[in-house]
């Protein structure tokens, strides 16, 4: 791929990362951070990332081209799926949206630059300033690349040096993003490290945790617990466990005219990152009683997934993944043969997409890679009861509802514990200001200094 050796992840595979090497890298990062990043103005950083966002959207941008050229082999996503994911992510990365995120999470757009007060603070003669960690270590899961990219942006906003530890085989996009930062501003690139090693290499992780003062991690609960247990007490830990998501389609939107477009939105959510993210739907709940039945919706969804396969193919999967899909398909074919409560629509001669309709509303975890359930429910209450087993684990609900009902449904979902409700079709497209798992992502990274100042009469 001909990238210069700026990052540990650029080293040839035979070059082993050692704890000593990693410690040294961390210390360099922190020095660079003190020198080049700690006193950068928010405004200048926003300019850099705005420019980066625009560049990545440009089809001629060399790093984007490399991502699309080498991405399919490295990540398993097809070129079109990768392009769509890159577009979704970088369209959000604008100066304006970064500005809004800072204002939202920190209460003042200059909060990272100086002691400042917003209207509320002025009333009580208070000013506040935040600062980020010296060094953040991000332990990233390998399923999809966008969370690692987002973490990098947030880390820069709070002026932290960062080590991004990618899962095996998942470095390509973070690496290319890091190189694009390096190219636009080498001093910023010098505050970032991208590395890869197989999980569970304790000496490396111990070295990393010794240098970091904040660790973020995404992964299974057990992985998070294991990381957390090994952190020194002074280190802040932000863990994001695996989450599940589903869609909800109300009966009102299922007119014969709209059926195909609603199904196309659902198909977009299933196809995005091949359904591998926490925000991707496992199940689409569909209310009975509309002009089109849940079964008809399932069929329309199958048609849309077939259409999407022609323009944005899923791409090849391992034989193990194909076997998991084939085995699950066979299971539902037996059920479908048994009675009308189950129906199946599968891509022919491939495992590219699968739709299983079930009258039984119980939430099922999909085997992913574009395998989705459509389940029939009488109302939202029934859907939530059916999903009770995963109640604490739900991230996003993609909602297709008329305005007259949307607020009430969102209220109910919020009360039940869902942390994000968005339009169906946008599930894998969270805004930059998204509160990850219900937490203010940027605010979670910083530490405040409050100044309650006395006003002396002059």
């Amino acid at each position: 791929m001909n990238l210069p050796n700026y990052f540990l992840a650029d080293l040839p595979p035979e070059a082993d990362v050692t704890p000593e090497l990693l410690t040294e890298a961390c210390q360099n990062l922190k020095r660079n951070r003190d020198e080049y990043l700690a006193r950068r103005s928010t405004e200048s950083l926003l300019e850099v990332f705005h420019e980066l966002g625009q560049s990545w959207l440009n089809p001629a941008f060399p790093f984007r081209q490399k991502a699309l050229e080498f991405g399919p082999a490295a990540t398993g996503f097809s070129r079109a799926t990768l392009a769509a994911g890159i577009d979704r992510f970088f369209a959000e990365l604008t100066g304006g949206k970064l500005h809004d995120l800072i204002a939202q999470d920190l209460g003042h757009e200059q909060r990272l630059d100086d002691l400042v007060a917003n209207t509320l603070e002025r009333k009580s003669s208070r000013l506040g300033l935040v600062r980020g960690p010296n060094l953040i270590a991000h332990i990233c899961a390998g399923n999809i690349p966008s969370p690692a990219l987002r973490s990098i942006v947030l880390g820069f906003l709070v002026r932290s040096a960062q080590v991004v530890k990618c899962a095996s085989g998942a470095t390509l996009l973070p690496r290319l993003f890091a190189h694009s930062i390096y190219e636009i501003e080498p001093k910023l690139g010098a505050c970032l490290e991208i590395a890869e090693w197989p999980g569970g290499r304790a000496p490396l992780e111990t070295a990393l945790f010794r240098e970091a003062d904040c660790v973020t991690a995404t992964g299974a609960d057990e992985t998070l617990a294991a990381i957390k247990s090994r952190l020194p007490i002074r280190v802040r830990f932000l863990g994001y466990g695996h989450r599940l998501s589903f869609g909800y389609v109300t009966q009102e939107v299922l007119s014969q005219i709209k059926l195909a477009s609603v199904a196309a939105h659902a198909a977009a959510d299933v196809a995005a990152w091949n359904q591998l993210g926490c925000l991707s739907p496992h199940v689409i709940y569909v209310e009975c009683g509309g002009r089109a039945s849940p079964e008809q919706f399932a069929e329309a969804l199958a048609i849309e997934l077939a259409r999407r396969e022609t323009i944005e193919p899923r791409g090849p999967v391992t034989v193990e993944t194909a076997a998991a899909i084939a085995t699950r398909r066979a299971f539902y074919e037996v059920r479908a043969a048994h009675g009308p409560e189950t129906r199946c629509w599968f891509s022919k001669e491939s495992t590219a997409w699968s739709v299983v309709y079930e009258a039984d509303p119980r939430f099922q975890r999909s085997c992913l890679h574009r395998f989705v359930y459509v389940k029939s429910v009488a109302n939202l209450k029934e859907a939530l009861q059916a999903a009770d087993d995963i109640r604490a684990k739900v991230s996003t609900v993609g909602l297709a509802a008329p305005e007259s009902r949307a607020l009430e449904i969102a209220r109910e979902l919020a009360g039940w514990g869902v942390t994000r409700v968005c339009p169906l079709g946008q599930m894998q497209n969270p805004s930059l200001s998204w509160r990850h798992d219900g937490r203010p992502s940027l605010a979670d990274l910083v530490t405040w200094t409050d100044w309650e100042h006395e006003i002396y009469a002059s």
């Binding site: 034989v319 076997a323 299971f331 037996v334 085997c367």
Partner: protein
């Protein structure tokens, strides 16, 4: 049932076929040849027609594919039912009243066990299928003592593996063999009081007031590499008993056949290592090892396990035979003849592959999970088995196991990551 005569006729024809392939019973059966494949095809089509008309769930499954006996001319076109269907439905041509025995796969509290129903006649076919192929691979000579590392049939009446071991014990070493496994205490506490009265648990009549019991844990398992008895560990090895049997056997000239699951071997070997014990079984002794670990003992790579068997028990590696079978089948595959070289060695890479082979009355296909079509030699796919001895259930079984096609046989790779969807099964409404 009017179907009896036809199933019986089929069974008689199959037993003749098995007998011919086995050279009249005791001699070694040959592998599949061009000549036998025609007979296999005829038997397969006959059995397909019987099962199509007498197993309603299977018939609907075939009809959904537009396949009927009338439009099928080759056994490879017969729809294979997923093994998981045995958990979902009563895949049987036997009415509830006719079912005398049921074999379960692993039955934990979180997973439904699969159920393979038999009557006396289908069990006879099972045994007719088992014995010659077992004998060919495990017992080329005579006069052995069996030590079996699982519970006996009274304790594990629904395990087809235990049934298999009991059948070979009865046939080949009736007087001087023993089972040295038992159940965890909590399993014994839940054990059906009727168990133990008879070699096999009788299935309570479903039509009566007593629902059929699916007891947690006891049943198990003889399936491919990743399957185990119970994830919660229903079976244990009575190590003292095992050790007594082994030391007694070691003092004698008569070779031993040690039969067990992979984890029962690990249990034995771990215990011996802990006690720093080692012995040398008489020359010609052999081990038959089957199944995997899932949640039991330590998981050991096959080569390491076999190394330990040689080291601690004095059984030569050429005498360790692996078996592949499952409760949904009535025939078994083995990876070598004890004492002989393994079945296949790739000359190109000088790699040794443990290649399993079924008897001539069971055919294997390795199919691409992506396309459903047979893969080329050396490629990986899902293992599909057409077992002519599966008379009263369904002959064509799509397993969840991955294998590499190696000539007529296959090398086992592992199990597809299939977590069975939760929810009620169709069992209650599926009886024929």
């Amino acid at each position: 049932m009017p179907s009896h005569s036809t199933f019986s006729e089929y069974s008689a024809r199959l037993r003749e076929f098995i007998s011919r392939q086995s050279g009249g019973g005791s001699a070694a059966p040959s592998s599949v040849t061009a000549e036998t494949s025609g007979q296999f095809n005829q038997l397969a089509l006959t059995l397909f027609a019987l099962q199509f008309y007498h197993v309603p769930v299977y018939r609907r499954y075939c009809e959904a594919r537009g396949i009927t006996p009338e439009n099928t001319t080759a056994w490879s076109e017969i729809p294979a039912i997923p093994a998981a269907a045995f958990k979902e439905c009563a895949l049987s041509s036997l009415s509830p009243a006719e079912r005398t025995t049921v074999f379960h796969s692993s039955g934990t509290t979180t997973h439904k066990p699969s159920r393979h129903f038999h009557n006396h006649e289908s069990l006879e076919v099972y045994e007719a299928s088992l014995l010659p192929w077992f004998q060919r691979h495990v017992l080329p000579e005579v006069q052995f003592r069996f030590i079996i590392l699982t519970p006996g049939p009274a304790l594990a009446p629904h395990s087809s593996l235990v049934h298999m071991f009991e059948t070979v014990r009865r046939e080949f070493a009736p007087n001087d063999s023993m089972f040295v496994g038992s159940l965890h205490d909590h399993e014994i506490a839940h054990r059906d009081p009727e168990v133990g009265k008879d070699a096999f648990h009788r299935v309570p009549r479903i039509s009566g007031s007593r629902p059929e019991k699916v007891r947690d844990g006891v049943e198990s398992v003889p399936t491919g590499v990743m399957e185990s008895a119970n994830a919660d560990g229903g079976w244990i090895l009575e190590t003292d008993q095992a050790w007594a049997a082994l030391t007694h056997a070691a003092s004698d000239d008569r070779p031993v056949v040690l039969l067990g699951t992979a984890f029962s071997f690990v249990e034995l070997l771990d215990w011996m290592i802990g006690k720093q014990l080692r012995l040398s079984l008489p020359p010609g002794s052999r081990a038959l090892e089957t199944g995997g670990y899932k949640g039991r003992s330590r998981a050991l790579p096959k080569a390491e396990l076999h190394g330990l068997i040689t080291d601690r028990l004095g059984i030569r590696s050429t005498h360790i035979v692996c078996e592949y079978g499952m409760s949904e089948l009535s025939s078994q595959a083995y990876d070598r003849v004890a004492g002989a070289p393994p079945f296949q060695i790739s000359n190109l890479k000088f790699e040794m592959h443990r290649t399993f082979r079924f008897p001539p009355w069971a055919q294997v296909q390795i199919v691409s999970p992506e396309t459903g079509k047979a893969v080329d030699d050396g490629e990986t796919g899902l293992i599909r088995i057409y077992d002519l001895a599966n008379v009263r259930s369904v002959m064509a079984i799509q397993t969840e196991d991955l294998g590499i096609r190696r000539g007529e046989g296959f090398e086992l790779v592992g199990r597809a990551a299939f977590s069975e969807p939760r929810g009620c099964s169709l069992m209650s409404t599926a009886a024929p």
